[in-house]
């Protein structure tokens, strides 16, 4: 790096890619994290999350605009990319670190893709009602079930609830599991079949995933099963990232340990 002609761009990249950037960014992010978490107690999880974690601009005392959490994350992402492109030495010694950084880039990048392209909603299904295609948006982070609600979007296929079941722990009122038996009607494929949705066993079809979320009772005692609906393009990234970061950290640790055994200063 020293022998290279220092251009304006590469000097900027050089700063962005240096470990001094996270040194600056991480404390800021930690402050946001602590304040935003504590605020959840006072203004609720949904409101606090919006203000401290997802809005690109944060208004301090309603008048001073500060960069929001996503801005700091984006900066960190840029820094990581710069580090990977300009500063990293692709040596055996640095292999672990490199892998970790690639993993974190994937995680943050995946988060970015998810936050832009994914869609989350929910679907209340009344037992034995006609098939429904309606998905509703969360309101203030909550799922609400009212007869007068307007659906936010339509599924390309329809679902109906055949049966809802709740299991209790023996001799208590604590639910041990609940599940919905649903019927899927796909007019385009001219097919109908039943499927079981329960905790940790969602139904996945045509890019949509349906999770058993909760249930409510109507005033006349009928059960409404509520399914969370997610259409997430970036689903694979956390899985990849987890694997790569784990591998990277393990490698890093082994390299450090081995290096010390051999007496290399690390």
């Amino acid at each position: 790096m020293k022998n290279k002609k220092v251009t304006f761009l590469s000097s900027k990249l050089n700063f962005l890619g240096s470990p001094r950037l996270p040194l600056l960014l991480l404390p800021i992010m930690m402050i946001y994290l602590v304040v935003g978490t504590v605020e959840q107690k006072y203004i609720g999880l949904y409101e606090a999350t919006k203000i401290y974690f997802t809005n690109p601009v944060m208004w301090a005392w309603d008048i001073i605009p500060l960069p929001g959490f996503p801005v700091w994350v984006a900066l960190l992402l840029v820094g990581l990319l710069a580090q990977l492109l300009t500063r990293s030495r692709w040596t055996k010694q640095m292999m672990g670190t490199m892998l970790v950084h690639i993993g974190v880039v994937l995680l943050l990048g995946g988060g970015l893709i998810t936050s832009i392209f994914s869609y989350e909603g929910y679907m209340p299904l009344l037992q034995d009602a006609p098939p429904s295609t309606a998905i509703y948006d969360y309101e203030e982070g909550q799922m609400r079930v009212f007869a007068t609600m307007q659906p936010a979007r339509q599924l390309p296929f329809a679902l109906s609830l055949e049966q809802f079941e709740k299991e209790l722990h023996a001799g208590t009122n604590v639910a041990s599991a609940y599940q919905s038996k649903v019927k899927l009607h796909d007019a385009a494929a001219d097919q109908t079949w039943t499927s079981l949705i329960r905790m940790n066993e969602p139904l996945r079809y045509k890019g949509y995933t349906f999770y058993q979320s909760s249930y409510v009772f109507t005033p006349d005692g009928q059960v409404i099963s509520i399914l969370a609906v997610v259409h997430n393009v970036g689903r694979i990234f956390p899985y990849l990232s987890c694997l790569i970061v784990a591998l990277g950290l393990l490698l890093h640790l082994i390299i450090r340990w081995a290096g010390r055994r051999r007496g290399v200063k690390v």
Binding site: P19, L33, G44, T209, A228, C242
Partner: protein, 643 residues
């Protein structure tokens, strides 16, 4: 040399008799303790239930009355001679304001008996009703404790009346003389509610007719004949008992295959004696079992050891062969043993012994003390690990789901990791000793913290639906908890290192720096992987990877703190001892994200909250800040002196 081992094993043997306490009832409680009972979602030995309730009521596992009473002896008394148990002081009212409200006088340990509390509640029924009318999140501390106390008393009352259907009714001889013939024999033979069921329908019909007659005629009850009056009052008495008994469902000790659900599922259901009859679940198999319970009741009252043991053995034999997935005899035996060995107390004692021995070694330099410390740590790791394994077998689920379980797991990981590290490095070095030191200190502190989290009574509980989901949850929770443990271990070592800092020569020869840093790196690995796995679990379960839940944020905070420190070290922006101070402060960060996030009372992960937690958290933070600050000040002063 031998002296030390003798001392060591003397300590071992001494720690066992602590568990053996004399009961003033001579009946063998062992037979009673092992009876399987369905309680809070799983089948457990009566001993667990007794301990759970007694600790919940009184905050301790024995009754301090004239004599020391074990939990199982107390429960037996409560079930079989409630008129005595009513006067045992087992309810702790720790809030002074609540004592004032209830008009309770001073008593040792703030313990009160059922009877006096019942009186006190009678005078304060308005306050209780007002409280019950309010929404539970509007309750003040006094009201919360009042409701807790009230609920405990309801449970006590249920237990007290569990066998009231088998207890002879005390009717006056004047009344017996005028009863109709079908009831008279019963009354003379000191019959109980259950035996009255034979003529219950007849009695009820007769009483109804009498009641109708009197209402129609408008006559005063006093004008009825003595015989008619006796019929009415007996019918009324039995009906009262039935109504009261219909709500009695706590002591589910009779498995039955006759209930509707049992018929549907093909698995026996467990009933409390009253519920067995009220819910129509009795049958040819359960009748002899109820008869055996009646024998036990009598045997207890007459101190008839032989009958007591025989009947209990029969009941246990019948229950154990119940056809139910909830019944696992080996788990029952293991759980019974768990309560007798008290492995967590043993682990704590080992840690304490080891810790003190190591301190003596550091001061005196005698190698025997060092050996005692190493052996103690090994014993603690073994006992503690076996206990965790036993809990998994007993509960039939992954080891961590409550705060208490996370604490004992963290304690074990910290101890085991320290021992492993000590074995892996050159065992003759001081570095290895410091690893043992950190492990023992973590063990002592975390075991103490765990003891303060058993106040709710039963620590072995079933899972809520959201947590009852196998693989991802188990991996996520275990990995993140290992991360916490490694962080705490690194933090303790960092304290030691800060203490060593003014002596650079010693520090270099000991070479603890790398141990701290490598532990930190390993901790980072577990914290990051654990956190991402948590996201994956959330994605699998309800479709969102990250929800900004306090616990998630807490884990992220630890990860960011570690990443920050490791980068800070790389840039040489801070002095080495600042980095060490940062690692020592990991204690605070971990405590905040582990316990602190529960205080917020939001999100999925909040499992248990109390004001005590808040204060201990504040105290921990303040003490840590002073400790680390003091160590840093010491380093600064030393530097100035050298320059």
């Amino acid at each position: 040399m031998i002296r030390f081992y003798v001392l060591f094993f003397l300590f071992l043997t001494l720690s066992f008799p602590l568990n053996a306490r004399a009961d003033n009832v001579f009946l063998d409680k062992r037979a009673f303790e092992q009876i399987p009972v369905l309680h809070e979602g799983r089948v457990k030995p009566v001993l667990s239930m007794a301990r759970g309730y007694l600790i919940r009521f009184s905050g301790r596992d024995t009754v301090q009355d004239l004599d020391s009473y074990t939990a199982q002896a107390w429960l037996a008394e409560l079930l079989f001679t409630p008129e005595q148990a009513m006067f045992r002081p087992v309810f702790r009212v720790s809030l002074p304001t609540l004592r004032e409200v209830l008009g309770l006088e001073r008593s040792s340990g703030h313990l009160y008996h059922y009877h006096e509390l019942q009186q006190a509640f009678r005078t304060q029924s308005d306050f209780l009703n007002q409280t019950l009318a309010l929404d539970s999140n509007q309750w003040s501390n006094v009201q919360k404790d009042l409701i807790d106390l009230h609920e405990n008393m309801i449970v006590f009352n249920q237990l007290m009346n569990s066998f009231s259907l088998l207890r002879p009714l005390n009717l006056s001889s004047e009344m017996i003389d005028v009863l109709p013939p079908y009831a008279q024999d019963w009354a003379r033979a000191k019959g109980n509610y259950l035996q009255s069921l034979i003529f219950a329908e007849r009695l009820r019909q007769q009483a109804t007719r009498l009641a109708e007659k009197t209402t129609k005629a408008g006559t005063d009850l006093a004008t009825l004949s003595a015989s008619d009056q006796a019929v009415l009052s007996l019918a009324f008495m039995l009906e009262e008992m039935r109504l009261h008994g219909a709500l009695n469902i706590v002591f589910r000790v009779v498995p039955s295959s006759y209930s509707r659900m049992a018929q549907e599922t093909g698995q026996s259901e467990f009933f409390a004696p009253w519920a067995l009859y009220e819910q129509g679940a009795s049958g040819p198999e359960t009748a002899p079992i109820i008869a055996e319970w009646a024998q036990i009741l009598q045997a207890y009252q007459n101190s008839d050891t032989e009958k007591w043991q025989q009947s209990l053995a029969k009941i246990r034999d019948y229950s154990i062969h119940t056809n139910s997935d909830l019944m696992r005899p080996y788990a029952l035996g293991l759980e019974w043993g768990y309560h007798h060995v008290k492995p967590m107390e043993l682990s704590f004692l080992f840690c304490l012994l080891g810790f003190l021995s190591l301190l003596i070694f550091f001061i005196s330099g005698r190698g025997d003390w060092r050996r005692v410390a190493w052996i103690s740590l090994s014993c603690a790791v073994l006992v503690h690990g076996a206990a965790l394994l036993a809990r998994v077998i007993i509960l039939y689920r992954p080891p961590i789901s409550t705060l208490y379980e996370s604490i004992i797991f963290v304690a074990w990981v910290a101890m085991a990791f320290g021992l492993l590290l000590a074995w892996l490095t050159n065992r003759q070095t001081q570095r290895a000793d410091f690893a043992v030191f950190a492990a023992l200190l973590s063990g002592v502190i975390l075991n103490l913290v765990a003891f303060t989290h058993t106040a709710h009574g039963e620590t072995m509980i079933v899972l809520a639906a959201v947590l009852n989901s196998g693989f991802w949850l188990a991996t996520h929770v275990i990995i993140i908890t290992i991360g916490y443990a490694l962080c705490l271990f690194a933090a303790v070592l960092a304290h030691v290192q800060l203490y060593q800092f003014p002596h650079p020569a010693a520090r270099k020869t000991i070479g603890l720096d790398h141990m701290v840093l490598n532990t930190t790196r390993l901790a980072l690995l577990f914290v990051i992987v654990g956190t991402i796995l948590g996201g994956i679990w959330a994605d699998q379960s309800w479709g969102r990877f990250w929800g900004w839940d306090p616990k998630e944020n807490g884990a992220l905070l630890i990860a960011l703190w570690l990443v920050w420190l490791l980068h800070a070290r790389m840039t040489n922006f801070f002095a080495d001892y600042h980095i060490m101070a940062g690692l020592a402060a990991l204690n605070i960060i971990v405590a905040l994200s582990w316990f602190g996030t529960n205080l917020l009372g939001v999100g999925l992960h909040s499992y248990g909250f109390s004001d005590k937690t808040l204060w201990s958290l504040i105290a921990t933070t303040v003490i840590e800040i002073f400790l680390i600050g003091g160590l840093l000040w010491r380093i600064q002063r030393h530097k100035r002196l050298i320059i």
